[in-house]
Amino acid sequence: MMDVDVNEAGLPRVVVSDPAAGFTPLSNSPPQGGRGPVGGLGEGGSETADLDGALSPLEGESGSGGEPPREGALGAVLDDDATLPTYSFAYLDEQTKRMIRRAILKGIAIPGYQVPFASREMPMPYGWGTGGVQVTAAVIGPDDVLKVIDQGADDTTNAVAIRGFFQKTAGVATTTRTGEATVIQTRHRIPERTLEAHQILVYQVPIPEPLRYLEPRETETRKLHGLEEYGLMHVKLYEDIARHGHIATTFAYPVKVEGRYIMDPSPTPKFDNPKMHRSKALQLFGAGREKRIYAVPPHTDVVSLDFEDHPFRIQSFSQPCALCAAEGVYLDEVILDDRGGRMFVCSDTDHCEERRAAGHRGALSGEAL
């Protein structure tokens, strides 16, 4: 089942027909558009501005014939005369992508296990999702449709920058619609809409080690995982209850994957934890600075840790979304003025927009935003 779903999820679609094509031209001269992506990230919203410069060859090709990518198209994007080297497809060279895919496959084979990988320098700072970007780069293909969210929103700087990055370096179609996306890179949320088998969710992970809080030694945490010694994890939850009367961990809430590994679901709100459980979509996690990749294959058990007398509970909200009246979704607080005015709206902007398009109206939806 795992293999089938993984296949459907898109990994084998990234076929490198000629591995050599990936680096021959690049090894000699720096990519022409070398500073392009960095500039793109910095400019944030100007995601389409310099697309032409960096990706004109690919654009020209797919635009002209719509034929399947020819040899080399997935590796190096070359001009016909082979004198104008530019980026590999999706920025990373093929050997790196292969290395990352191996790590991903290992992660899928051992759900929840943190696989070390040779994380690359990316043209963006650590903390901006370098792990997620590398994973996305390794799994995305030209036919994929990419969605990038940050805290549930498609229009925040991080999301816009990463979307622009892949538009530029892979020329893939992008979307803000959860339903239309085949690859979704996320920081801190899981979309409200239930993900399907053909989708991959890529998480940006700052600190992959759930035991880090109590055990600073990597050698020791790896041993604890290996021997399945997880008493420490409950120590953290115990401390929560002792201090606050309830489990006060609200994000990065530890889970047990397929009854074996304890995993940090990245700093998503615990509200999203149940969505990971037996999800039809493949879930991949990339931590760039910490050089770890892990995965939850489709249909895998993901159980949040708890105590018998303090069972796991997700956050609940006393009112529906002020814009689309959705209930049972994760809400963000928005400050309206400096007199204490505020409202709660869907954190998942796409979900909110879709509902409003379908005619749902919340208490404040009349107000201009």
């Binding site: 109590l214 997880y230 008493g231 409950h234 120590v235 002792a242 201090r243």
Partner: protein, 268 residues
């Protein structure tokens, strides 16, 4: 008198820990050599000697923290079978270390988690063996804090804010909460004030008696050995030079070194 047969005692008791011809070398340097020792359920054995005599090396080998160069250490598992410590998988050995064994370090910071509360320090072993009920874990922690004379209102404080004596008592509670059958102690009263030492010794005596613990106590303090132990080994230069009933070794020492050691005790 002749009516009573001179029978050897029926060997009803079987050793909990069986050490045979154990040696440990650090490269070419001797740690301890050719030590044999049986520890029976409920008895306290002291290992005394000056620093560098090999007693801590021996303790670490017995507790599976150091792999001996030669010889064997066997422990009687709950199923009654003796198993070689170094034939166990690491997972089995670590399970043993957090259930059937305790290890009390001289420096409590080594045996405690200094940044989590006292209650969690005591509860960790329970959670590690699968206890998942906060209420019972906390109640057990409270009970143990009381047993080691730590006020209930300190349960949520971190041991960083505790005095040396309190930390040591907390470490003892943390070790004993799973009712281990064997506890290793490395200079348990080292570095404490005399009055704090006395309190700790009294506590240890009582706990050992109440719980029927077997213990191996390494100490350079002969008074600690006398108060806590039934039997003792005297180590010098890595070997055991004298062993026997604690009060006999102390009151009627045979070896020159033991006589020197005993005569060196300061009298108050």
């Amino acid at each position: 008198m002749s009516a009573v047969a001179m029978l050897p005692d029926a060997e009803t008791e079987r050793p909990l820990l069986k050490v045979s011809r154990l040696s440990h070398y650090y490269g070419a340097r001797l740690g301890c050599r050719d030590v044999s020792l049986d520890v029976y359920p409920g008895e306290v054995v002291a290992v005394v000697g000056e620093s560098g005599s090999g007693k801590t090396t021996l303790l670490n080998c017995l507790a599976g923290r150091l792999t001996p160069t030669a010889g064997s250490v066997e422990f009687r598992m709950r199923d009654g079978r003796l198993r070689s410590l170094f034939g166990l998988t690491e997972a089995e050995r670590r399970l043993l270390a957090r259930t059937d064994w305790g290890f009390v370090h001289q420096n409590p910071a080594e045996g405690l988690r200094m940044t989590v509360s006292a209650g969690a320090n005591v509860g960790e072993r329970l959670m590690a063996i699968g206890d998942r009920h906060y209420g019972t874990i906390r109640a057990t922690a409270l009970d143990w804090l009381a047993r080691v004379e730590i006020a209930a209102d300190r349960i949520d404080d971190e041991p960083r804010s505790f005095s040396g004596g309190m930390r040591q008592r907390l470490q003892i509670a943390r070790n004993l909460v799973t009712r281990p059958r064997l506890v290793f102690m490395d200079e348990p009263t080292g570095g404490l004030d005399v009055s704090v030492q006395a309190r700790l010794l009294d506590l240890l005596r009582q706990l050992v008696a109440d719980l029927g613990l077997a213990a191996v106590v390494v100490t350079h303090d002969l008074a600690v050995a006398r108060l806590l132990s039934d039997r003792m080994l005297v180590m010098k230069d890595g070997t055991v030079i004298e062993h026997g009933l604690t009060d006999r070794v102390l009151d009627d020492p045979r070896e020159p070194y033991t006589q020197l050691l005993v005569s060196s005790i300061l009298q108050v």
